[in-house]
Structures are given as C-alpha cells and as structure tokens.
C-alpha cells in the first residue's frame, strides 16, 4: 500500500492538534511533525513561514511534545518528528572553556543555574532529545542537516530510545553513499526528489523517479518521496516510483491561508484517494509488507 505522510508544523496554530487529527481521519499513514527552528536551511518560503508563525505563537519542542502527550489517546498513527540539528543537539554537554549564562529566563527546557548555558547536563543532548520524543509517543525522527557522516551519536541515541532515525537521500548522492544510507536508515528512506528546498512545484521533478529506483535497488526499506510534491496527481506519479510520499508545503500553505482542519481533511483525503488509485494499478506482489511500529 502506498504510504501517505503529510507534514504538519507543530504549533502552527493554537489548535494545530486538530489538523493532525484531520490528517489521521483522512487516511494518513503517519504524520511528520515539524519542530520549528529559526534557521531551517532546507526549507523553502512556505515551511519557513509556517515555522516563523509557530515560533511567534510560542511553540517550542517542549510545548509541542506537551500538546502531543495531551492528545495521545486520540492519535493512532505513527508520528515522526522533523527538525534541525541545533534543536537535536541542544545543550549537548560541552566540556571545556568558560561558563556562560544564557540569561535567567525560566524555560522548561533549560536548567536554570548559572551553568545552564554551556551544558544542560543529563536532560540535554541527543540522548535526552530522543528520550523525550519517545515519551511523547513519537516513533521516528528526520533531521535534514545531519547527514550520515554526522549521525553516529544521534543514531545510537535514537536506537536507545526506540526511535527510528530516518535518513535522507538526494539525487546527487553517489552509489556507495546511497547504499550506506539504505543500510543505516530506519523506518523508511526519505528520498529528496529534487535538488531544491521544500516547496510547491508545477511538476514532479525529473530527478524523483530515478532516485527512487536507485534506492529501491539498494534497500528493502520503504522509499518515500518528498519535496515539491504539490498535487494528488504528482503524488500518484511519485508513488508509482516509490512506496509513498511526504506532502508538506502544499498543505502548510493552505493552513497559512486560513483553511480549517476540515478543509485540510478534504485535501489530505484527495492525496489518499490518488495513492489508493495507484495501489490498484500495482500488482499485490510488489507491495511491501507493513513495517512494524509504523502503524499502531
């Protein structure tokens, strides 16, 4: 079955959990929750704007996880966090040099003593980060600016916390590296279908299908295509090349424009229908078995 992973910026509106529930109701296989960061290097204008709006509304990793924990009983699909390295490694212990305070602001995430700035101690670093994700019911993690070369410690931390660290592959990724990504990724592989940032496009990039094919050749993990998949028709095309799609900017633009959770449910349902249509084209033998832990 072709997978549909819609993306939702955590905290984009005060009632953002309603969008999450709408995505679920519309048939999402999993939802990617964006933990907003001030400097989202790989995001285009729409997701940047969504992140900025969430941050302005006071969203933080802590607040988003709290919201998710509160909604836990109503969520029955896997949740995957997507964020940037700085939030993942935040408070990573720092062993040498002068101590500096970041200021006395009382923030639930920071220690409050004078030593809080340079080292947040046991409650910080990728280990604590992954643990906190797991505690909030999240089962996967995508960090686009942590390539496989920089992933060792995060990989270990994720494994220890029972989180799937999903790695990304790009059209320019060379074969040996693609193989390593295939080997080390968990849950699925995120195929960055275009050499560009996130954002809507007029057509699916020509690089999407070849990348998916190359990935399928080196791994048995599901290959989900993301970046620039803007319409159900594009999603269907992408899904034919891989095992599913991530839809981000096309949905977030509508939320930013004021669409309601109901509106978004219809939107996601249209993508679901398109993918289901593709499923019917595909002989059952080539469909992958569901990966344990990704639908519960």
């Amino acid at each position: 079955m072709k997978r549909l992973n819609p993306y939702l910026t955590g905290g984009i509106t005060p009632d953002w959990i309603d969008y999450l529930l709408a995505f679920q109701a519309a048939g999402a296989d999993a939802v990617e929750i964006g933990l907003p960061f001030s400097d989202p290097m790989l995001d285009g204008a729409t997701i940047q704007q969504a992140s900025d709006q969430a941050l302005r509304l006071g969203a933080s990793v802590a607040s988003i996880l709290t919201d998710l924990a509160a909604a836990r009983s109503r969520i029955c699909i896997p949740l995957i966090a997507m964020t940037y390295a700085n939030l993942v490694f935040r408070g990573d212990p720092f062993t040498t040099g002068p101590a500096t305070a970041t200021g006395p602001e009382a923030d639930p995430e920071a220690g409050s003593g004078p030593e809080a700035g340079r080292s947040l101690g046991a409650g910080s670093g990728p280990e604590a980060f992954c643990r906190r994700l797991a505690e909030a019911g999240i089962t996967g993690l995508i960090v686009p600016d942590v390539p496989v070369d920089e992933a060792d410690r995060l990989e270990a931390a994720a494994t220890a916390a029972g989180i799937d660290l999903v790695l990304l592959a790009a059209p320019v990724t060379p074969p040996d590296r693609l193989a390593e990504i295939g080997r080390r990724s968990r849950g699925f592989i995120y195929a960055v279908s275009v050499m560009d940032t996130t954002g809507e496009r007029d057509a699916l990039a020509t690089t999407a299908a070849p990348l998916a094919a190359r990935l399928k050749a080196v791994t048995d993990l599901p290959v989900l295509l993301g970046f620039g998949i803007s319409t159900p028709a594009q999603a269907a095309t992408a899904a034919r090349a891989g095992d599913g799609v991530v839809i981000g900017a096309a949905l977030m633009r509508r939320v930013l424009d004021g669409a309601t959770p109901d509106d978004l449910r219809a939107e996601v349902a249209a993508f679901r229908a398109a993918l289901d249509q593709v499923d019917q084209e595909v002989p059952a033998a080539t469909a992958h078995a569901e990966i344990s832990g990704h639908r519960r």
Partner: protein
C-alpha cells in the same frame, strides 16, 4: 573541518557531494604549485598584496604601546575579503563552475565576490539582508555595477544570518554549475579550513613584516575570517591572540554550543535553541555564530575574546582617523576600540607591541557614521 569538538558538515544530503568535491578540489589545488603561483600572481598584480604594515606612531605615543596596523583596508575592493574570493574563484574555475553564489553582511564579501566573478567572467548572485541593503547602499551599487545580481533577503533578521540561509538554499538548487563562495570561516567542512588557508596570507605577511614577534595580535571577529587568517601566522608563537567581538553579536563570549549554517560552534541562541539575532552597528559583525576554529581556540585558551560596544567602536573610528589619517571599517574598529580601552591595563600593559589587523576601509560606513559620529 574539525577543530576539537567544533566544525563538521551539518548539511542536507543534497550538498554533501558538493562539499566533498570542494574539499577534494581544494586539497588538490593547494598542493599544486601552479595553482598557488597563479593565486600569488593575482594577489600581487591585482589585489595589491602584500598590504602595508603601518606603525601607528601618534596613537602609539598616546597609548604607551607600539601599535602596528596590518592594512587590509588597502587591498582591492577595500577589505581582506578579496583574499578569500580570489582563491575560491580560481578553485571554482578549476572545478568547471560558471557561477558564484555568496552571502554578504556589510557587503564587502559581496563586492569581493562580484569582483572575482567579473574578473573570471563568471555569473555572481549575492544574497543580502534587506536591513543590510538599507545601511550599505554603496556596496549594493558596487555589486550591481560589477554585474552581480543582488537578491534581498526578507526572512528572519534580514541580516547576514538569513542571507547565509538563503545562499545555502540557492546553492542546493544550483549545485552543478555554482560554487558557493562563502565569505567567512563558518559553514560546513571544508569552508572553515579553506577560508582560513586563503586568509592566512594576512598573518604570514604580517609576521614577515614585523621585526619582532608582537606581544599581542588582535583582530575583530564576526564570523572571524580576518582574525583566523591573522592568527594563523602567529599561532605557533608566544603572541597572545585576541579576537574582538561586537557586544551585541558576541558568540564567543555569550554563545552556547549549537549547529547553524552547517557547522557546530558557539552560537547566540535562546534557551529553547532558537538562534538569536545579533545587533551591532557593524553589519559585517551582525552574526550569531562564529567560525568553529575560534570556538576551539577560545575553549582551549589559545586565543582570548573580548567585546566592545557600538559607542566604543564609533569613538575608535574617529580616533584612528584623527590620529593616523586612516578611516577604517566599523568592523575593524572593534579591534582598535579594544586597544584603546585595554592599553595601560593589565590586559595590555604599557610597552606592549600590538599587531592589529585593520580588516577593511570605512568608505562603506560613511552613511552610518554621518548619522552617529560628530
């Protein structure tokens, strides 16, 4: 690319091969005599190197120290930035690239990039924060006259931080034909190393020009490229190395470990891990990060970092102008301001010999200064 626990290559997979190719190309070029000779030739016949070393005699007498100025303000385009871009443009040409993408704060790196692009017949696209565009109009016009496209960045703080994000995003979309001509010693590996190597000409020239090893070597630090280049010439000597930051943009002094723009270093960020906007009168220092080598030099104690305020900087510009006839950039004036404050104190005892890198000239800052100084 790694300096102790700092540095690294925290970039999207889309950029990893380009970073790797750049690293390989630079390793190859840097050990190629012909490449180094071509660069040396350009530095001499085009960029005006070696730059002078000027004894600031009147100021020295007033302060009770011997102050020597390494005059990067005399380099072509008006700052040390040309050292870096000439090397990167040569490298880009060697790699078959036809286009340079750059970020810029004060505009000096943008002008240098536009200059190198014109010289090599390449296309240049420069990302610059809207706020910086407003305060550095002269440099915007220079870039355009040189044929570069200047793209205003309206996101975030609308300064160097967001211009850097946009430049990296643009690179993702043009990685085949474009070289990302990064302006400072930040960014993913190999940039902090590559830029330091291209800027070490400052320190090496200065060391050859100074009769004795100075007691103190001082330079301003935003991202930190002029300081890194200067320090490179003296890191193996007993000279104290001092980097001077803007009080409103002091990642070394007030930052915590973090990852931005592809590298791990000290970063100005709030308790939730969101990167803060820097705030300095010098557009070139309005940057919340700092090169990873500085983080390493600072945490290991080999270099020390100080901060000065905007008011001290304005005073330093004026005092250097009136004492020595040199109008330096607001960025460079940070180093001068520290010398003015520290001379005669235990931090810079009377009788010390100080080598100070004057990273650039102040023409670009006249509009800002006209509003602030008098």
């Amino acid at each position: 690319g790694r300096f102790g626990e700092f540095g690294g290559r925290y970039v999207p997979e889309s950029l990893v091969p380009a970073c790797a190719a750049l690293e390989a190309a630079f390793r190859d070029a840097w050990s190629d005599t012909a490449f180094r000779e071509r660069l040396a030739h350009l530095r001499t016949t085009y960029a005006g190197r070696p730059t002078a070393l000027t004894a600031a005699e009147r100021l020295s007498a007033e302060l009770g120290v011997t102050l020597l100025l390494k005059r990067e303000d005399l380099a072509h385009t008006g700052s040390h930035k040309i050292n870096n871009v000439l090397g990167q443009a040569l490298l880009a040409q060697r790699m078959g690239k036809t286009r340079l993408i750059a970020e810029t704060g004060a505009g000096q790196h943008g002008v240098a990039t536009a200059t190198a692009a014109a010289l090599f017949g390449m296309r240049a696209t420069v990302y610059m924060g809207e706020r910086d565009i407003a305060r550095q109009r002269l440099n915007v016009f220079r870039m355009e006259l040189l044929g570069a496209e200047v793209i205003p960045v309206t996101s975030g703080s609308r300064t160097l931080k967001d211009a850097t994000n946009e430049a990296m995003r643009a690179w993702v979309a043009a990685v085949d034909e474009a070289h990302f001509c990064l302006g400072s010693v930040g960014g993913p590996h190999p940039y902090p190393w590559l830029v330091r190597e291209l800027q070490r000409v400052i320190g090496e020239e200065a060391r050859a020009q100074t009769p004795v090893i100075p007691d103190v070597v001082v330079a301003c630090v935003g991202g930190g490229s002029n300081a890194a280049g200067t320090f490179a010439g003296f890191v193996d000597t007993p000279a104290r190395l001092i980097g001077v930051e803007a009080a409103g943009g002091a990642a070394m002094t007030n930052g915590t470990p973090g990852v931005v723009h592809g590298y791990r270093s000290l970063v100005l960020q709030d308790a939730a891990g969101q990167v803060l906007e820097a705030e300095s009168i010098a557009a070139g220092l309005d940057y919340p990060g700092v090169g990873p080598e500085h983080a390493h030099l600072g945490t290991t104690g080999r270099a020390e970092y100080r901060t000065v305020t905007d008011d001290e900087v304005l005073d330093a510009v004026r005092r250097l102008a009136r004492s020595e006839g040199i109008i330096c950039a607001l960025e460079s004036a940070h180093a001068v301001a520290w010398v003015l404050r520290a001379a005669g104190t235990p931090d810079l005892p009377t009788g010390s010999t100080v080598l100070l890198t004057l990273s650039g000239r102040g023409d670009k800052d006249m509009a800002t200064l006209a509003g602030e100084v008098r």
